[in-house]
Symmetry: D2
Subunit: 353 residues, 4 copies
């Protein structure tokens, strides 16, 4: 391996500000997005501008947070696997102590299990303070697994990671059981703003959302996903804030809801698997420090508060880009014109903001 | 929008060289990976070293390539939608001409359609030369859609993108119908190399692959995916080569197969949705130019040859990281020790290569 | 094994008539449903009555038909698998001859393939006349597989059935590539009928359909399915007409679309995997003969016509039950009251029809 | 509606006996299967015979049981939905009382919830004694929903059923959270029995299971399913015992595991969504009464015991048919010969048993 100090310099800009309210933060903030796809910036920018035209801005609700790691053990047979699972349930207090003894920030909040043949899949669920928590969860799972292998009869090691977590794969389990921050964003766009700024109507966006995001994805064989392009915004935000951007795989599984409410547009993005942190790998790079600080996510707060703030900002950013693209796609030719135009003049449009 | 010339500097290293053979390239090459997760480098490095211990190295087979865009039209009713679909089929030659007239590199190779209620989903499939082809496909789809709306009775515009493509979402359709480069990689690791370098056995890797990648992902509710961490390698490779890394969402849907063949390990990664290009957005950045050139993907070749070369290198890189991690997970504690160790000494280990 | 002449006597009734129009049949017909769940009868009955209040009745469009069987061969390596796949493509004409020589009714219409590692999955697609075609397809696949094993170098037998067909499993491939009859049904219910007979509004049914069938199923981790209870109607219809009712597994994967069109209700059920036949296993039982005859599906027609007629009747029956249940669920308490009431008085309500 | 006393007489036979052990029952019993597909009987028969050649027979482990019903409410916004969800959690004791007051047999064991936009999906989970519990769960959910609508501020009725249950659809949630009886079956077949009776080897069955059931289903876009034909055995068993056979849709989602253990075959079927009862709709028909009695499932036992006994018998029956078919498919031509032969001589082969 060579080139130790090289970097891939991904173009980055700040867009916004976005207006955000909710149970975590009530702020206006610009957000950084790093991407090779320059049309992303004006797209999010347009959504951000609209967020400021709504009194409440983007209402963000943090519903849940946890980081998970699954391990796999092999039992003598299914009956023994069941006995082991019951022991795990019965010992929850002890397991929690083990985790606490091993980390200042990790806390075991639940254990789930599933048996297939003689295999026992154990899914440990933690809160992890301001860290996204991959490593903290793996370390804690390692301790728990060692303890169980030592003390529960009839089971043997199979794997420290069992794909039942699930990390960086698109599955159903993360949405159903929880992994990462679960954030709902909502924006009500007045009828005249829909018309003047988005050049469309609430009814047309609602209809497109059903036909494209819900039915289209369903027909494509999607799993727990109905949106136009969450992955784009998440990638840009994750790279700009030092996150492990491979987590966009599950992060992009979310659901857009759009409703015509007497001409006003109710627009919501639910993003149940946002995996972000303000400490840990990547967070020590100078530009990341700078960005997190500018986002107000390096303040002195209770552990977890900075990460939650980052999560709701990320989620609101997703909404801005999603709204902008869906609106564009209701109009024949607009997307194509915008792409051609924006790729050439992204800078110029940016300055209008 | 501000900070126009800022970049997110993602740490990047070259690892390898990997030995690659197959129907596209027969080379040894180092590969660049940009990531915030430093353990990725030595992990891929270990796999690369093993690739050079096998006479054939990593056999890569490019099975297919195409870029797609789906559009959505609304018909008067299902019967009219069916009539429109039949017209589309009947006019394939004409549609192909339209695409060719609009682009030097795009070529329409197939059209698929599906009807739900009165909605007609049309999936246009193109080859796009050395470009990954998102924009080329969108432009061509725009032309085709305009033509169809003008000439086919009873249909109206719904959307230029129908999520039936499918771009940056985890679905089943891309694997079944094709999107991006479909590449199979295979490596046979001699028994003693499995033992000495991976500290495990072929039987244990094969068993782990069934229990973790196949059954574990299945239980998690995965869709067309059975691997440990393709997303990590793809992200690093995509960022280092100027790709739209949001395509790791579908790119990471692939299948690892591991078999114990008389003690030797047959190890294969099938990656059916690799979306890469050597021209287009992001490819003009100086470090990207440098990297693509060093990978031999900026040579004077037939259109498409450079992109195919890049695809098989990407796929071989995925195999290296996948093999290394699975081997580590067969051994209790190894992953944890490696993570702790590697995060501290990634540089040092890199130099051993 | 004992009790050779015993039968499980599943209660059966005829409901309707349904009014059906479209590209296969323009009829009014009653339909038989065999079920242990007596509320099914009045539920379908209510839908049938509404179908007769619409001038066009239930418009049914048969979009496609085919029966499939996949086989699996193992190649020396992926490159050989690719060469074999290309041979299969190149020899389509020969393969078709082999099928025709082996059966009067089976006709090979397409072959699809997918390669994973060194495994080649081949999906043969046939038309099968009036038979649902399971056995015909298996027999034809057996002939094709033998031929390929004899003549294509580098491949060996793995399985006569590869789960890539897919028979009696819920997957994405059947909807995307086709298996069984693909039928779209549409019914426009005038505003006053929605009010008087369904005690609800088009807007409420449309909203419920989005929230329950589309979003609810998505959140549950469904695959290519958005409906309330297609499985119930299909089971009842399949049992009453001698079908292999295990095919409700994939048959019940379909999509309900409901729209408020100025107060009228546009209601559509797309059922892409209807597997029915009028000859073959189960069709020789006296009550099945009687039922098929009464449905007009034992007439002298071109091969395939009777089965297509049966398919559109089945699909229209599904719509009737789906409409009725969704309407009921828009009203708090109605479903519960109906269930309690109907289980006690199914006979009585039946007589009102 | 007419023909009130008609029945669809599905051919039915008893096969076996099967040897069953485990945490619910230790018995040898024949089982009834009603089907139009006569090859099913000798197929299960072969498996049953093998079960008697293993000292422990088919080890069955009942892992869990519950019946579920989801309801849907609409909140003012996501924040209100979250507050409502927290109230539901806080009031679990009260909710349980409401259920107990409304039914002798229903007991609320858990409530799960998920928020999307302003929609709150509530999944109530019950034990339901010897009933499969559809109606009991719906009645209880109706009571709970009424209570919540009356007492929790800011929510309104959407639907008494939200497809998040999930009933008669193939989804991921039932396997992950539980619905029906979760039963694991295991059988170890000695090497010589594999050879003499199944005409194959453990290694070949294990390999086929990976390639067909795991990888084949995955490539087809399956969801939480890896088996050859659970649906066939479940349909036959459900019809013969008065069950709602539409529940084979989710019931057939299960996982077959096969391992070569030094030449012996470890064979396991995990069936997490078995929905069966010994009382309720369909159970009062004379032939059903007779069949349940003969299966020992109408004895005086604690509530739930009879249904659990029925569940493990159903699960063991599934294993018999699955083993037999997979073994046959390892041999080229055997399935085809068997089908042709068996359809003609099912009776004769039956008598050999």
């Amino acid at each position: 391996m060579t080139d130790e100090h090289a970097t891939a310099g991904v173009p980055m800009r700040w867009v916004g500000p976005l207006r955000i309210t909710g149970n975590v933060a009530n702020i206006e903030t610009e957000v950084p997005l790093a991407t090779y796809e320059s049309p992303l910036w004006p797209s999010v920018q347009r959504g951000a501008r609209i967020s400021r035209m709504a009194p409440e801005g983007i209402a963000t609700t943090l519903v849940d947070e946890r980081m998970t790691r699954s391990v796999l053990v092999e039992a003598v047979d299914a009956r023994t696997a069941l006995a082991a699972a019951r022991q795990v349930d019965a010992r929850f207090g002890k397991l929690r102590e083990i985790v606490r003894a091993g980390s200042r920030f990790a806390d075991l909040v639940a254990v789930r299990h599933e048996i297939t043949a003689n295999l026992l899949y154990l899914r440990f669920e933690f809160t992890t303070g301001d860290a996204s928590g991959h490593n903290m969860a793996t370390l804690a799972a390692d301790l728990l697994l060692s303890h169980l292998l030592d003390t529960v009869p009839g089971i043997a090691y199979c794997s420290i990671s069992a794909n039942y977590c699930t990390d960086k794969k698109a599955t159903a389990i993360n949405g159903i059981l929880g992994r990462g921050k679960n954030v709902v964003t909502e924006l009500t766009v007045p009828r005249d703003v829909v018309h003047d700024r988005l050049h469309t109507t609430a009814a047309r966006i609602a209809e497109l959302n059903v036909r494209k995001n819900l039915i289209g994805t369903l027909l494509a064989g999607g799993i727990r996903s109905a949106n136009a392009h969450y992955a784009n915004m998440l990638l840009g935000f994750y790279l700009a804030t030092g996150q492990d951007a491979a987590n966009i795989v599950e992060g992009s599984q979310g659901v857009t809801v759009a409703e015509d409410r007497d001409g006003d547009l109710y627009f919501s993005c639910t993003i149940p698997n946002l995996i972000v942190g303000t400490v840990g790998n990547g967070k020590g790079l100078p530009f990341v420090e700078t960005n997190l600080t500018r986002l107000g996510c390096r303040a002195e707060r209770e552990p977890g508060e900075n990460a939650r703030r980052l999560a709701v900002i990320a989620a609101a950013t997703v909404l801005c880009g999603e709204l902008s693209l869906l609106a564009a796609q209701t109009n024949p030719g607009e997307l194509m014109r915008a792409h051609v135009h924006l790729e050439r003049t992204a800078e110029k449009i940016g300055q209008e903001s």
